[in-house]
């Protein structure tokens, strides 16, 4: 409600400011002809911006310090004798009760008269402060409005000023991306450090046994060896790449070099459909179809393949990555200059010779970069492995057995019946940090290679 009133008031201020700037700009045009620097719209926007700044500053200050002031006021409402008897949590509880009373909600138990009084006082305090802040914001905004309006002259460069503000807004938007990274690193590092206060980092990074323990059973924390998870992750990634790279690369080559326009027009979007399918769907597909199929196929040839295994997850993940590999490879192949291809044809090379001897070597760095990006993707993939890898964090080399991965363990540890204060769930963040660092290195390396490749042919 209050937010709505505030927003409405600000909007009105904005509109009035714009209008007054615009009309002044307009009158200048009428008086001076074409020599006015900026168009009336810019003058309007200029005044509007000026008016908003102090209003927003007032609101921001209230947002920052208002809570504290309100808190102090509530405390001052509690009778001193009661206040002295309260400990911190009791105080919180009391404040909560008073707030609940003020907001009109009932509270449990008897309401003391002083509580009721405090609640009423708080309610009028809230109303008064709100009104005061609103008026202050509007008055300061109006002041700025008049100041800005008085500055508008024919030579006033309102457009430049407005454009500078637009530039700053754009800059702030692009800073969101940076903030995201900062946020990721900060949150992961903070929580991971808490984890490392329980578990020696060496035991985490080089441990070969993954057996987190509830502190309740046996009193010790168990073992948090990363290696079984890492091994599982890498095994699945390797299998995925074994599926995705040949199929993806060959389809890219076929579509790029052999297929005529009609075939390409049909096949390419169809393959790209694979890229649009949510991973949970692949996970389900792996769980109910590919897994049992591989198991039966394995049984038929005498192999003991588990339905949920590194193989199942790897194969399905490979399928998922095919369009990724093929569209990246396609891009890269497109970037190889056509003159190289012509050069080889001109010498009488067949098409496959051209591709194998000239195009691929030329595109190799780019393609390697694309593969690394695909690897990074496979490493970070979650839902397929959650459903189809079998969740078995044991260090072993058999791809027909279930494995667990870093991502799966993050989900398990953070959503299981684990002790949230202990390393059991904190390890999720340490794993997340590990995952982030691994993919970061891969991504940067891959992007570096791809970029170098692009520059080579620019």
């Amino acid at each position: 409600m209050n937010t709505l009133i505030l927003a409405a008031a600000l909007l009105i201020l904005l509109g009035v400011a714009y209008q007054s700037g615009w009309s002044k700009g307009r009158s200048l045009v009428a008086a001076n002809g074409v020599t006015v620097h900026s168009r009336p719209q810019y003058h309007g926007a200029y005044v509007a911006l000026w008016a908003m700044i102090p209003a927003l500053v007032v609101l921001a200050l209230w947002g920052l310090f208002g809570g504290g002031i309100r808190h102090d006021y509530i405390v001052s409402l509690i009778p001193v004798d009661i206040l002295t008897a309260l400990d911190q949590s009791g105080l919180n509880l009391t404040i909560g009760r008073i707030e609940a009373l003020a907001s009109g909600y009932g509270v449990v138990g008897e309401v003391q008269p002083w509580e009721q009084a405090a609640g009423d006082a708080l309610r009028s305090f809230q109303f008064l402060t709100f009104a005061a802040v609103l008026i202050l914001a509007l008055v300061s905004g109006a002041g700025a409005l008049f100041y800005a309006r008085s500055r508008i002259t024919a030579r006033q460069r309102s457009r430049n000023a407005v454009e500078r503000v637009v530039g700053v807004v754009l800059l702030i938007c692009s800073a969101v991306a940076i903030l995201t990274t900062v946020g990721i690193v900060a949150s992961l590092v903070t929580e991971a450090l808490r984890f490392f206060s329980f578990i020696n980092p060496l035991d985490f990074f080089f441990g070969t046994v993954w057996a987190p323990n509830n502190a309740g059973t046996g009193g010790h924390y168990g073992q948090y060896g990363l290696l079984p998870l890492l091994a599982g992750t890498l095994m699945i990634t390797a299998i995925a790449m074994l599926v995705a790279v040949p199929v993806g690369l060959m389809s890219a080559i076929y579509l790029n070099q052999y297929a005529d326009r009609r075939v390409r027009g049909v096949a390419k979007p169809l393959i790209e459909i694979l890229a649009g399918i949510p991973t949970i769907v692949f996970g389900f597909f792996a769980l109910v179809t590919i897994g049992p199929f591989l198991r039966d196929a394995g049984a038929a040839i005498g192999l003991d393949i588990k339905a949920t295994s590194a193989l199942t997850a790897g194969v399905v993940m490979g399928i998922m990555i095919i369009p990724f590999v093929s569209s990246l490879s396609d891009d890269i192949l497109n970037q190889v200059p056509k003159t190289l291809r012509d050069g080889a044809y001109g010498l009488g090379a067949t098409q496959s010779e051209t591709i194998r001897n000239v195009l691929l070597p030329a595109a190799l760095p780019g393609i390697v970069g694309a593969f690394l990006l695909a690897v990074s993707r496979a490493i970070g993939e979650t839902m397929i492995v959650v459903l189809a890898a079998g969740n078995s964090p044991v260090l072993r080399g058999n791809p027909f057995e279930p494995v667990s991965t870093i991502t799966v363990s993050i989900v398990n540890q953070l959503t299981g019946d684990t002790d949230f204060t202990g390393p059991q769930s904190l390890v999720g963040f340490a794993l997340g940090l590990t995952l982030f660092v691994i993919t970061l290195c891969l991504n940067i390396f891959a992007l570096f290679i791809v970029r170098r490749f692009r520059e080579q042919y620019e």
Partner: protein
């Protein structure tokens, strides 16, 4: 006027270098094209081109940009096959054999008709491998020594050997533009073609490199049938014995270079040569 006086000198100097027409008459016809048309999708790029190209001489195609010079050149070694939507009609014969004969192997044809492109396009391999690539895929060398021999002699013919002999294993892309273009010529020669097609081979080069390549073309003419596309009339005048003028997909006029430049029959040719079009 001096502008024109200068021009006369240039032209005369270049024409002096060429053979006299009588000499040219001796050269048998190597390539004949009859009524060649090319469509790119719905767009017709060539309208019935007929021309005879003599052996061991340089034939130049000139004409304003987009007139179809490159298109016709690409017909000769069927490079248009690699362009999606390009359709070629008419008949082109190399030594009397129809090169669009479906039974003819285009790979073999291209081994016989080499091509050099506008932008030097060495493969991203070593200098040696660039030249050795053609002989390798075609199985022209029986052993390493054979191959070495082919590479060296091709580089020599392309006038590049002395400059690169110490760095044959370095990448071909590291050479200067002019050297790269000569490397491409060496690469084409290595397959032992009978005809060499060149599409504006100097347009990406500086004047000095251009001069070297022009000289090289003049030498190569003794052993190969050469067809060159150029946008510089001076260059055509300098290196060719026969010239064909294209305009808007038509072959407007062809004949001995000297005749074309000094005495164009067609109005359009005149306009072009005098700088009124293009």
């Amino acid at each position: 006027m001096d502008v024109l006086a200068g021009k006369v000198k240039v032209t005369q100097k270049t024409l002096d270098q060429t053979m006299n027409p009588a000499e040219l008459m001796d050269h048998p016809i190597r390539l004949t094209a009859r009524d060649v048309t090319v469509h790119y999708g719905a767009k017709q790029a060539l309208h019935g081109i007929s021309i005879d190209i003599p052996d061991r001489a340089v034939t130049a195609f000139i004409g304003p940009s987009g007139c179809g010079k490159s298109t016709f050149l690409r017909c000769i070694n069927r490079m248009n096959d690699t362009i999606e939507g390009a359709k070629v009609g008419g008949r082109i014969e190399l030594d009397g054999q129809d090169i669009y004969d479906p039974k003819l192997d285009v790979v073999e044809l291209r081994a016989r008709i080499g091509m050099v492109f506008q932008k030097p396009n060495p493969f991203p391999k070593s200098i040696y491998d660039n030249v050795a690539y053609g002989p390798r895929i075609h199985g022209l060398a029986r052993n390493k020594a054979d191959l070495d021999e082919i590479v060296v002699s091709s580089l020599r013919k392309a006038g590049l050997f002395e400059e690169v002999k110490d760095r044959l294993s370095e990448p071909g892309t590291g050479l200067s533009g002019g050297q790269q273009q000569r490397l491409c010529i060496a690469r084409a020669i290595a397959v032992g073609p009978e005809v060499i097609l060149m599409d504006e081979p100097c347009s990406a080069l500086d004047p000095i490199a251009t001069a070297i390549i022009e000289e090289l073309i003049d030498e190569l003419r003794e052993n190969y049938t050469i067809v060159i596309v150029t946008h510089s009339m001076q260059q055509a005048a300098r290196v060719s014995q026969k010239t064909a003028f294209f305009h808007l997909g038509n072959l407007i006029e062809q004949g001995d270079t000297e005749d074309i430049f000094t005495n164009p029959v067609n109005k359009q040719t005149q306009d072009y040569i005098m700088g009124r079009i293009g």
